[in-house]
Amino acid sequence: MTAPAWALRRLGRLSGGVALLGGLLLVVTAYASAFGSSGFQLKVTTFLVSVVMAVGLQIFSGNTGIISFGHMVFVGSAAYIAGLLTMPAPLRTLQAVHLPGGFLQDTELSFLPATLIAIGVVGILAALAAGPLLRLPDTSAVIGIFALLLIAGVIFDNWQSLTHGAGGLYGLPPSTTIWNSLAWCIVAIAVARWFRDSGIGLELQASREDNLASASSGVHVRRLRAVAWVLSAMVSAVAGVLFAHQLTAFSPTSFTLQPTFTVVVMLVVGGMLTVSGPVIGAGLVTLVRQGVLPYESSSLDLGPIHLNRLTGLSDLVLVVMILLALYLRQEGLMGRKELDEHLAGWLRRVRPAGERQSAP
C-alpha cells in the first residue's frame, strides 16, 4: 500500500472511532441537556470530566504499560493555575493569594485562554518531572511517580500564598458547561486515538509488550515515554481546568490518592490498552457509584452488628469492581480492540450468517 493511501486509511479509522465514542457521549449529553434536571446535567458533566481524566491517563499508562498514580498532580496543578487566572481579582486579595509578577494580580482571564495557559504550564512541569522519573526502571518508576503525587500534595497543602493551603480556592467562575465538557472530551479522545495509532504510540506499545526486544530494534523507549507522559499530562490538565470551573471551589483533597484510585478503576475496568476502555470504564464507574451513593447515608442491621452510616460504601464497590476485573479479565472490558473494531467484528460475523440463511 502506498504511503498516502495508508495515511488516508488511518484517518478513516481514526475518525470512525472518534465518531462512535463521541456520538455515544453526544447522545448522553443531548439527552441530559434537553430533558435532564439540573442535578442530572451536573452528574453528566462530572462524568464527562472524568472521561477526560481517564483518557488522559490512558495516553501514558495504556501505551507504556506503566500505571501512573501521579496524574492527579497534573489535574491539580491545572486546576490551581487556571483557577487563579480566572478568579475575580478582589477574591484573590481576600484569599491572600499572590500571583507572581504584579500585573497578573489584577488580570482576570476568561476560560479559554486560562485553559490554554494551564495546558502549557502543566506540559512544561511534566517535561521537567519526566527527566528524573522516567529514567527509573519500570517498577521503580511507578513508585517514583507515586512519590510525585505526595510531593505535590505537600505543596498544594502548604504553599499558602499561591494555593490558599488546605482550605483551597473558591470563587471561580462557573465556566464549565455540559457542552464545553463534551467538546473537550471529544478532543481528548481524538488526541488519544491519534497517539495510539501514531508511530510513537506503536513503538511504545511494542516496548510495553517487550522492552528488551523493542529497545534492541532501535526504539528509544525513554524519549518516547517522555513524549507520552507530557501529552498525557496536558490532556489531564484539561480535566483539571474543567473540574475546577465546574465546582468553582476545590481543596487539595481533590487531588490525593483517593480520587486517583477512582480514575485508575475506570481505566482498569474499561481496559487501558484502548481509548474506548477508559470511556466505557468511566461510564460504568459513574453508573455504579450513582446507584450506590443513596445507600451511603442509610443504616444497616446485620443481627448483632448495627451500622449507622455506610460512609465509604461506594469506594468499597469500586474496589470490588477493580478486583473482579483484575481476577477475571486483566485487560479490562475492551481488551485489545477499540469499540469500533469490536463492532466491525460483530457486524462481519452477523452478516455472512444472515446471507447464508436467505440463500436457497
Binding site: 504499560g65 506503566i66 500505571i67 498514580f69 527527566g131 528524573p132 522519573l133 529514567r135 527509573l136 526502571p137 519500570d138 517498577t139 521503580s140 511507578v142 513508585i143 517514583g144 507515586f146 512519590a147 505526595l150 510531593i151 505537600v154 505543596i155 497543602d157 502548604n158 516496548s207 522492552n211 528488551l212 529497545a215 523507549v221 525513554r222 515515554r225 490518592l257 484510585f261 485508575v264 482498569v268 452488628i305 451500622l307 455506610l310 460512609t311 465509604g312 460504601l313 469506594d315 468499597l316 469500586l318 474496589v319 470490588v320 477493580i322 478486583l323 483484575l326 481476577y327 486483566q330
Partner: protein
Amino acid sequence: MSASELVQQLVNGLSLGGTYALIALGLAMVFSIMGLINFAHGDLITIGGYVMWEMTSRGISWYATVPVAILAATLASVAMERVAFRRLRGASVITLLITSFAVSFFIENAFGIFISPRAQGIPVPPWLNEAVHFGSIIVPVVQVLTICVTLVCLVLLALMLNRTMLGVSMRAAAEDFQTAQLVGVRANRVVVTAFAIGGLLAGVASVLYIARSGSVQPTTGFDPVVKAFIATVIGGLGSLYGAVAGGFVLGFTEVAFSAFLPDTIVPFSDAFALVVVIGLLLVRPQGLLGRVSEVRA
C-alpha cells in the same frame, strides 16, 4: 547545635529509620520473590492497631495485647496472600500493584464502615512516654525501645535467612524464583513464609508505631507504608539489605530536614526528603544496593 542535641537527633533518626526498615523488609521480601509491591502491607499496621484497641477497650492489659496484635498482623498477612494474591501469581508487576492498592482500599473502607472513620485512642503504659537521661542527653523510652527491638529483629532475621534451610531457600527464591523451584524449593512454602515474616515484622512495627501515636484509624498504615515503599526504592527494589539501608537513609534524611531547615520551610520537609530521594535515584537508578538487571531503556 550542641553535641547532646546532635545525639538526640541521631537517636531520632535511628528509631524512625528502624521503623521504616522493619516495614520495608516485609515489602522487599515479598517483592523479591513474587514481584508484588504490596501496598496493603501498611494495613497490617492498622490491623495490629485495631486489635490492640479492641482488647484495651475491653480492659485487657496492654502487655497482653502486644503478642496478640503481632500474631494478628502475621495471620492477616498470610490470609491476604491466600485470598487476594495467590490467584494472581505470575501476573505482571503492575497488575499485582493495582490489586494491592485495591486490597488496601478495601481494608481501609471496611474499617471505616464497620468501626469508625475517626481515630480511636489506645492507652499505653506510662513508662513508654517517659524519657531516659544519659547525662545531658534526654531520650524518650519509646525510641530506645524501637531501636533495640529493630536490632533484635534484624539480627534474628539475618540468622534465619543464613542458618536455616527455609531461610536459604527463601534467599534462593529471591534470587531466581524459577531456578529455585527447579532445584526443589517449594513455591507456596517460600511465598507463605515471606508473607508471614513480613506480617510479623509489620506487627512489631505496628506495636511500636502505635505506642508513639497512641491511636489508630483506618488510614494509620498509609504513611508508614509509603515511607517503606520509598525506602525499598532507595535501597534497590528487592534487596533485603537495601531495604534496611533505605529505611535508615530515609529516616535520617527526614530527621535532618525537620531539624535543620528554617521554620518557614518545615511544612515542606517531607517534600524535600522525597526530592532528595528522587535526586539520589538520578545518580543510581537501581538504588543503593540494587543490581542492574532490568533493561536500561
